[in-house]
């Protein structure tokens, strides 16, 4: 079967737009949510500035429950919840919710890992100067970890492009949807190749931007 490229290109452009939109929206929400969870996880750790065993164990357990679930299964599993919140499970907007939840917990872990690597002496110095815990979070923890944090979030972004393709297969739209319906189900290899090339390009761009930003904040 021959593809009608004249009508097909607009579809590709539209699908690329949908993918980018999904990824960017998810990235924004997941970063905010993940940052909050990751910071909470860190500061409630034993011996830390807001030590709280129960919050720490609860969040830690939650992350360990959500993270191992394969995304495609998670996507289907929480679809009743998605329908409740978004009113539908089909479309780009509906895909953002499960993507955000799954990505937020990954971001949380990355945030926590980067915060742990901050020299505790720096936090102690801020405490000795009379900084409040909230102040320490915003003026010490986040700035000190920002460089590696951006690299971590870049890593997540690349993962999100992958997530978005999966979300596409269950009606999320975007390049994944296109590749599945035209490429996989109609055995059209050329469509598949085009979408894969675009996905690779998107990943390259995301990684490049992330590296650049983190280098700026790492100041090396």
């Amino acid at each position: 079967m021959q593809v009608d490229w004249a009508t097909f290109w607009p579809r590709i452009i539209e699908a690329t737009g949908e993918t980018i939109l999904m990824v960017i929206l998810t990235l924004i929400f997941a970063t905010i949510l993940g940052l909050v969870i990751g910071l909470l996880l860190f500061v409630t750790r034993k011996g830390n500035i807001l030590e709280n065993r129960w919050i720490f164990y609860f969040l830690n357990l939650l992350i360990n429950i959500i993270r191992p679930i394969p995304f495609i299964i998670f996507l289907v599993a929480i679809s009743p919840f998605t329908r409740m919140i978004m009113g539908t499970t089909i479309g780009t907007a509906a895909a953002v919710l499960p993507m955000t939840i799954a990505a937020a917990f990954a971001v949380a872990r990355i945030v926590e890992n980067n915060l742990v690597s901050i020299d505790p002496g720096i936090i102690e110095a801020a405490q000795a100067m009379g900084a409040s815990p909230l102040r320490i979070i915003f003026t010490v923890l986040i700035p000190e970890a920002l460089g590696p944090l951006i690299l971590g979030i870049t890593f997540i972004t690349v993962g999100l492009i992958d997530f978005s393709a999966m979300a596409g297969t269950v009606g999320g739209g975007g390049l994944g949807d296109l590749a599945m319906t035209y490429g996989y189900q109609r055995f059209d290899t050329s469509v598949m190749i085009v979408t894969v090339v675009i996905l690779i390009l998107l990943v390259q761009i995301a990684q490049f931007l992330g590296n650049m930003l983190s280098r700026f904040f790492l100041r090396r």
Binding site: D119, G121, I122, E124, A125, A126, Q127, A128, M129, G130, A131, S132, R135, T139, V140, P143, E144, L146, F217, R219, R220
Partner: protein, 340 residues
């Protein structure tokens, strides 16, 4: 200024208790430089952190600036901390902030206006001699420069007290001297009370007025540095003093002297004011005794001279005993025994 009364601090669970600080009572007076020396694990680091309540005491009373601090609210505690500067062995500078940003941080916490803050940061940069490094990041500084930034940051809010956690332990001897000079300058120019902890007796000798020796969480000896140096009571203290001035003769030399059987060995310990008199040559002219000086050291400690000599007295026994009698009036004399 800082007063500890029967302060103890324990860590750990019921089964595994670590008594870091045990029943410590001491006072740091206004304007002095007070040193705490001890081997690692002696509890001095915990003791220091009790001053600004980075650690809370398990029992006892801590008074800073006439206020009992363990009863303070969180807000009062933050206020207190802005009156106590702290510097660290590993400097603990914010790597994401420039030198300027590091020094400005405590001022921002205290809510200074931008213009006042800028003026103060520049003043501090000048004080520590780093005006040209304002826009640099800590990463690009040497150890000594980092500690200077640490000191500038700690003093930015004009605290009354500076506490130093092994501030020179990560530095080479030359840089250590530089930082110690700076601490003396801080003490003199700003009249800031300094409490420092260290495991180097050299640091105590160089800058402190008074010293406490810690072992196993307790203060085992305390007093004027001069007195502790000239009359140490504890074995640990003696060890620390020996680390800066080894006034023991080698066993090899002792053996050789014993074989020669020429005379008796005495240690002459100078009392204050005697160091600048020609005691030995005067006595040597008066009696038929020769002196063979084997070891000698006179050093200055807080502008007071102190020191000792190890001298072999060679001569007739009668003459030697006359010399001993005469010498004992002006200096302290101890016989050094061959078998050590």
């Amino acid at each position: 200024m800082i007063r500890f009364t029967n302060v103890s601090k324990t860590f750990g669970t019921k089964e595994n208790v670590v008594k870091a600080v045990q029943d410590v009572s001491l006072e740091v007076k206004k304007g002095e430089i007070f040193g705490v020396i001890g081997f690692s694990g002696a509890g001095k680091s915990t003791l220091l952190r009790l001053v600004n309540l980075l650690e809370r005491p398990t029992s006892g009373e801590i008074i800073v600036n006439d206020k009992r601090i363990d009863a303070l609210s969180q807000k009062e505690l933050r206020q207190l901390r802005s009156r106590i500067g702290m510097i660290f062995q590993s400097f603990n500078l914010f790597s994401s902030r420039t030198v300027y940003g590091n020094i400005a941080y405590p001022l921002k916490l205290a809510g200074w206006s931008k213009a006042k803050l800028d003026q103060r940061v520049k003043e501090m940069l000048r004080f520590v001699g780093l005006e040209d490094k304002a826009t640099k990041y800590p990463e690009s500084l040497s150890g000594g420069q980092k500690q200077r930034v640490g000191i500038a940051r700690a003093l930015a809010t004009s605290p009354d007290i500076l506490i130093c956690d092994e501030a020179t332990s990560a530095l080479d001897p030359e840089t250590t001297e530089e930082i110690l000079q700076l601490l003396l300058k801080v003490n003199k120019e700003y009249n800031i009370t300094i409490m420092l902890i260290t495991h180097e007796m050299h640091v105590i000798k160089r800058v402190c007025n008074r010293v406490a020796v810690m072992e196993d969480g307790r203060v085992i000896e305390e007093g004027q540095v001069f007195n502790v140096f000239t009359k140490p009571q504890n074995e640990t203290t003696k060890n620390f003093i020996r680390s800066v001035q080894n006034d023991q003769l080698s066993s090899h030399l002792l053996e050789k002297l014993q074989e020669s059987k020429r005379g008796k060995l005495y240690r002459i310990i100078y009392k204050e004011g005697v160091s600048n008199q020609p005691i030995l040559s005067k006595i040597s002219k008066k009696y038929q005794v020769d002196f063979n000086i084997l070891y000698g050291n006179i050093s200055e400690l807080q502008e007071r001279l102190f020191g000792s000599l190890i001298v072999e007295f060679i001569g007739e026994e009668v003459e030697v005993s006359k010399v001993i009698k005469e010498l004992e009036k002006i200096v302290e004399l101890k016989e050094v025994h061959y078998a050590s």
